[in-house]
Amino acid sequence: MINEYKPNKLNEIIGQDTKKILDWINSGRKKSLLIHGPTGTGKTASVYALAKEFNYEILEMNSSDFRKKEHIKNIAGEASQQQSLFGKKKIILIDEVDGISGRKDFGGLAELNKVIEKSKHPIILTGNEIFDSKFNALRRKSELLEFKAVNYLEIFNLLKKICDEGKVGYSEKELKNLARKNNGDVRASILDLERSIVNKKFVESFDERDYKEKIEDALRLVFKSKDVKVLLNAFSRVDEDLNEILLWLDENLSEEYSDEDLKRAYEKLSKVDVYRGRILRRQYYRFLVYQSALMSVGVGLSKAEKRNGFVEYKRPSRILKMWIAKQRNMKRKSIAEKIAKKTHSSVKNAYKEFPILVNFLNEDGVANELELDDDEIEFLRGEK
C-alpha cells in the first residue's frame, strides 16, 4: 500500500515546501541540495516524485551500500561524469548521508565532497541529523532544505483520501488517532493504516512502534544495573555506533563511578579501546563482539554495588575540543614551516619553540618577512 501511495508529482507531497526543490534545480545555484528532517516526512519520496514528474533518471546510493571512498568514487563519481543512456537527464541521489559512518566508510565523506565539486549532474542528499561537525563541508557546499514533521491534520486528510479512494469504512475519530500517533511520520501512518484494514474495514488499532532507545537510557542501564541479561542488551537498540557510545561512556563514567569502581571500569574501557584499534588495523570485525561485551557487561559489573541516584548525562565534548585544537595546531605548523624556511631551522624546532616565538611573530617586520597571510596573523593575535 505504501508503494501504491507513492506520490507521482511534487505537489502530492504533503506538508513540505517542495517548490523549493524545483527552484533549486532550475536555478543552478549550487550543485547539491541537502534535504534534512525527521523520518517519513517525504525526503526520498519527493526526489522520486520529481523524477517521475519531470522525467529524470535517478541514480541512488543509500546506506545499505558500502560507502567507503572507493565505492563512492566508483559509483557516484563515475555516474556524475557520464551522460545518461537515453539522453535522459540524471539526478544523483545519495540517501541517508548521516548513515555514512566515520570509521567503516572511511574517506567516504571526503570523496562525496569531491564528487559534488566535479559532478555534471545535480546531486540531492537526504539525511536526518546533519548538524554533526563531520558534515560541515557538505552543508557549506549544498543548498539546505528542511522537511518538518507533518501536522497530524494533514496526515489525517491524506489517510481519509486513501480510505475514500479504496472505499474503506472508517470512523474519523480513529483515523485522527492514528494520524496523531506517529509524530508527523507520514510513511508510518500510511503503513499503520494498511495494517489496520481488514476486508475493507478499519479495525482495532495496535501497539506503538518501538522507537529507538535513547543513548541516555542505555547508559543508565549500564551504570545502574548489575544484571548480566539486562546489561548484555543495553546498547542493542541504541542508534549510535559503538565508537560513539564509547565516547559517551568515557564522558559520563566519572559522574557515576568513583574510586575502585572507576578504576575497574576504566580498565575495561581501555581494553575496549585496544580492541577498537585492532579492528581498525586488521579490519577484523569479529572483535566487535568483545568490544561490545566489555562496554556493556564489563562496565556494568565494574561497580561493587548497585547504584542509585539520578545523573544527567552529558554529550561527549572531546571530539569537538580536539577538532578545534587540531585546527589550531595546523595553523601553528604552517607558521612553523615558514619560520623554518627563513631561519635555517627545522620545522620541528620552530614548532617546539612556538610558545616563545609567538611573542614577536606578529611584529610588522617579522610577519612581512615570514610572508604570513591574513589568516595566520589573525590567528597569532588570538594566541598571544
Partner: protein, 316 residues
C-alpha cells in the same frame, strides 16, 4: 642578512671573525676554506652553538656571490626518508658547480634524524660525487650516525658555549637593539637558554616586544608560558581523588600545548617518584604506565588510555 627582522638571522655571524666560541674548530675550518678545499664534515654538538652558522659562513666565503647556487641546505628532521637522499640530494650532488668553485656543498642539518636506510643510501652518494659535492652533516649525537659515514667525514665536536661567550652575545645584541639587561636578567637568560643561542635570541626578542628593559621576571614570564608544568597538577588532582579535575586538566594540557599521549606519559612516569605515595604504589604505577604506553604504541586512543591510567592514581 643584517636587515632581517628576526633576530636569529639578524645576528647570525657573517664571517669567521664573528663566530663566538668554538675557536679551535673555527680556525681549522677557516684553514680549509683558505686552501679552497673542504673535506666532508661532521659537526656534532648541542643545539644552538653555531654548527649551521659555521657551515653557512664557510659556504659564503668559498663561493662568494654564487653561494646560493652552490649550496643546498636540507633539514633531516623534516625530510628524513630515503627518498630525499635518492632524489633531492643526488640530483644536486651530481650536477656541476657554478662559477669558479670546484665543488658544491650540501648542508644536512640534524642528520642524526635520518633513518638508517637513508644513511646507507647517503654513504654511496658521498663517495660517488665527492669530486663535485662536499657534505657538511650536523647532528646532536654522532653516535646515531652510522660508522661508514663517520669514517668518510672529518669530525668536529662542538662544546656547549661558555658563559663568557654567551655574555658577549648578550652584550652585542643589547648594544645593537638598545636594550638594558641587568645582572639578574642576564643570569636568567643564560639559565633559560641552556647554552642554546637560538633560544637565547628568541627569548630576548620576545622580551623586547614588551619592554626595552629586560628583567629577570620578564624572562621567566616568557618561559613559563612556554613550559607545561601542569602534569604535576594533574597527578595531584588524581591522587586526591578529584578525578574529574584531573581529566579536564589533562585534555586541556594536551590540546593547549599540542602534546601527544606519549609526551605526557613520559612526564607522568618521571613525576611518579616525587609523589607523596608509598614506594610499593609507585612501582605499581610505573608498571601501569608501561602497560598504557604499550597500548598507545599499539595504536589506541591516547586520551582514553591516559584517563584509565589516572584512575589508578586515585587512592584506595
Amino acid at each position: 642578512m643584517k636587515d632581517s627582522s628576526i633576530w636569529i638571522e639578524r645576528f647570525r655571524p657573517r664571517d669567521f671573525k664573528e663566530i663566538i666560541g668554538q675557536d679551535a674548530i673555527v680556525k681549522r675550518i677557516e684553514a680549509f676554506v683558505k686552501q679552497k678545499n673542504l673535506p666532508h664534515l661532521l659537526l656534532s654538538g648541542p643545539a644552538g652553538v653555531g654548527k649551521s652558522s659555521l657551515a653557512l659562513v664557510a659556504a659564503k666565503q668559498l663561493f662568494g656571490d654564487s653561494w646560493r647556487q652552490n649550496f643546498l641546505e636540507l633539514n633531516a628532521s623534516d625530510d628524513r626518508g630515503i627518498d630525499v637522499v635518492r632524489n633531492t640530494i643526488k640530483d644536486f650532488a651530481r650536477t656541476k658547480s657554478i662559477g669558479n668553485s670546484p665543488f658544491k656543498i650540501i648542508l644536512l642539518d640534524e642528520s642524526d634524524s635520518l633513518t638508517r636506510d637513508a644513511q646507507q643510501a647517503l654513504r654511496r652518494t658521498m663517495e660517488q660525487y665527492s669530486r663535485t659535492c662536499r657534505f657538511i652533516l650536523s647532528c646532536n649525537y654522532s653516535s646515531r650516525i652510522i660508522d661508514p659515514i663517520q669514517s668518510r667525514c672529518t669530525v668536529f665536536r662542538f662544546k656547549p658555549l661558555e658563559k663568557e661567550s654567551i655574555n658577549k652575545i648578550i652584550d652585542n645584541i643589547s648594544k645593537e637593539e638598545k636594550l638594558k639587561v641587568n645582572d639578574k636578567a642576564r643570569a636568567a637568560l643564560i639559565y633559560v637558554s641552556g647554552g642554546d643561542v637560538r633560544r637565547l635570541e628568541n627569548v630576548m626578542q620576545s622580551c623586547s616586544t614588551m619592554s626595552r628593559e629586560i628583567t629577570e621576571e620578564l624572562v621567566y614570564e616568557i618561559i613559563s608560558a612556554a613550559k607545561p608544568k601542569e602534569i604535576r597538577e594533574i597527578l595531584d588532582f588524581a591522587v586526591k581523588g578529584k578525578f574529574e579535575n584531573a581529566r579536564d586538566k589533562l585534555l586541556d594540557v594536551m590540546l593547549k600545548h599540542g602534546l601527544s599521549g606519549l609526551d605526557i606519559i613520559k612526564q607522568i612516569q618521571s613525576e611518579i617518584w616525587s609523589l607523596d605515595l608509598k614506594d610499593e604504589r609507585k612501582i605499581e604505577l610505573v608498571d601501569k604506565c608501561g602497560e598504557v604506553e604499550f597500548r598507545m604504541v599499539e595504536g589506541s586512543d591516547e586520551y582514553l588510555q591516559l584517563e584509565s591510567l589516572l584512575a589508578n592514581f586515585m587512592k584506595k
